[in-house]
């Protein structure tokens, strides 16, 4: 067995990668089928909703419609705002060209459903129902309604894996709201009870947190994976790092990060996108 162990260690990494990708392609249909069965059972479950449930859902829908009508009445104002922003953007592009600055990357969204969650203590990832056939490629950013989710780690034909932002080897450039200086965000696992955590590193010394006024950590466009200003998490306390040059702190991520049923993959617009 010792000889076999030595042989296994000595195997070329290409063989191990091949074995892993073969396992992935075998595994992906299982998660897709179970996810579709779950969706179907959810659909049939709602078919049996009671009148009481339907009435309360209609009440919620009526409130959403009323809100929608208010926004429709403000259409003229919004159109003016859009044209103002477009004008500002075109001026910004001209300035960027004059100064020789690279324009900020733009993204196109691809909606993908989560088929499987692997949220162990040592590794956190989600499986998605879209892959290279739907133009989902590794290193694309993934977001949801409350901020960032992670980054595409691996893409199969019709499935992909997202490395969650709680993973310790997930590191991105970030900044605090209202402060443009870059800091580093790194994942720090999920606590019992499902509380996702991260750490913020390389925080300048003059950044302090007042009592009951936590700082909001946002994404930076410097990394290229995410656009600037997306929510990452909240920092309630900063402490001295070992070297004495910077501060570090714990980042509390959104509690629904591990429960998200659907995500948005951010595809850089340089790639040709075909939405389905």
């Amino acid at each position: 067995m010792g000889a076999f162990f030595a042989l296994f260690i000595g195997l070329p990494s290409s063989w191990k990668i091949f074995t892993k990708s073969a396992f992935d392609e075998f595994q992906a249909p299982i998660w897709e089928i179970t996810s579709r069965i779950s969706d179907l059972s959810n659909y049939w479950g709602h078919q049996a909703d009671s009148k009481k449930t339907l009435i309360s859902k209609n009440r919620d829908l009526a409130r959403i419609r009323a809100d929608w009508t208010v926004h429709e009445n403000n259409k003229k104002n919004w159109e003016n705002e859009i044209s103002r922003l477009k004008d500002l953007r075109s001026r910004l592009v001209i300035l960027q060209k004059e100064l020789g600055i690279d324009p900020e990357a733009s993204f196109q969204p691809i909606i993908a459903r989560v088929t499987h969650r692997n949220l162990s203590a040592w590794w956190q990832e989600l499986s998605l129902r879209k892959g290279t056939n739907q133009k989902v490629y590794p290193s694309m950013g993934v977001v949801f309604s409350h901020g960032i989710v992670g980054r595409i780690k691996q893409s199969g034909f019709n499935s992909s894996k997202v490395e969650l932002c709680t993973n310790p080897n997930f590191r991105i450039v970030a900044h605090f709201q209202g402060d443009d200086r870059p800091v580093t965000f790194q994942g720090d696992g999920i606590l019992p009870g499902g509380k996702p955590m991260g750490v913020v590193l390389d925080v300048p010394h003059d950044i302090t947190i007042e009592k009951d006024k936590p700082l909001l950590l946002k994404t930076s466009a410097l990394g290229g994976t995410f656009p600037s200003g997306l929510h990452i998490g909240t920092v309630r306390m900063l402490e001295e790092s070992g070297d004495g040059l910077f501060k570090n702190g714990k980042v509390i991520l959104h509690k629904d990060l591990g429960k998200v049923p659907e995500v948005l993959v951010l595809s850089p617009t340089l790639l040709p996108i075909k939405q389905d």
Binding site: N118, A121, T166, P168
Partner: protein, 176 residues
């Protein structure tokens, strides 16, 4: 031929269990819990197969387990083979009660959980620091669930071994 059939059936049973466990973990993972149950694969049936068949069966199951749960590829494959080699010196099929087999599986599960926690914290810097609180909670939950599962899994493997028969043996109706 019968031994080859048992070999295949045991791998199939392990695969079914790994997929089911992965789906269950996917559901409870939302609340920050995770079941770790590699000890369940040490059912005494391997003693029926002999060393040349039981080791590959455990190795393949271990590799599948590693891949499904994002462990370092080969960790559980080798750990399970090593524990099996040590255990076969004193565990013999038919001689132990189901309670003794369950206790053995609990010990094997505990050893592998500790080995994996040490491996995570010591050698793999890219893996999350496995906090002792989460480690103890998950280990306690896994052990609690392993007791009934161990009894069920043994019965499940028995029924599969009895149920899956080669076509050459013919259907019962045709035999009549």
């Amino acid at each position: 031929m019968t031994l080859n059939r048992i070999f295949g059936v045991l791998i199939f049973a392990n695969l079914i269990f790994i997929v089911t466990l992965s789906l269950f973990n996917s559901v409870i993972g939302k609340w920050g819990f995770y079941l770790y149950l590699p000890g369940l694969f040490f059912i005494p049936h391997y003693q029926l197969l002999g060393l040349n068949r039981s080791l590959p069966a455990l190795f393949l199951s271990g590799l599948t387990f590693d891949h499904f749960f994002n462990h370092t590829l080969g960790f559980h494959a080798f750990a399970m083979c090593l524990i099996f080699l040590i255990a076969r010196e004193f565990l013999h099929f038919g001689k132990q009660s189901s309670m003794q087999a369950t206790i053995f599986q609990l010990i094997a599960n505990l050893i592998m959980a500790i080995l994996w926690a040490i491996f995570c914290t010591s050698f793999q810097s890219i893996l999350a620091p496995w906090t002792w609180v989460r480690f103890l909670i998950e280990l306690a939950l896994s052990i609690l669930l392993l007791i009934p599962l161990s009894l069920w899994f043994s019965t499940f493997c028995n029924s599969l071994i009895m149920g899956i028969k080669p076509i050459s043996e013919g259907l019962p109706l045709l035999k009549k």
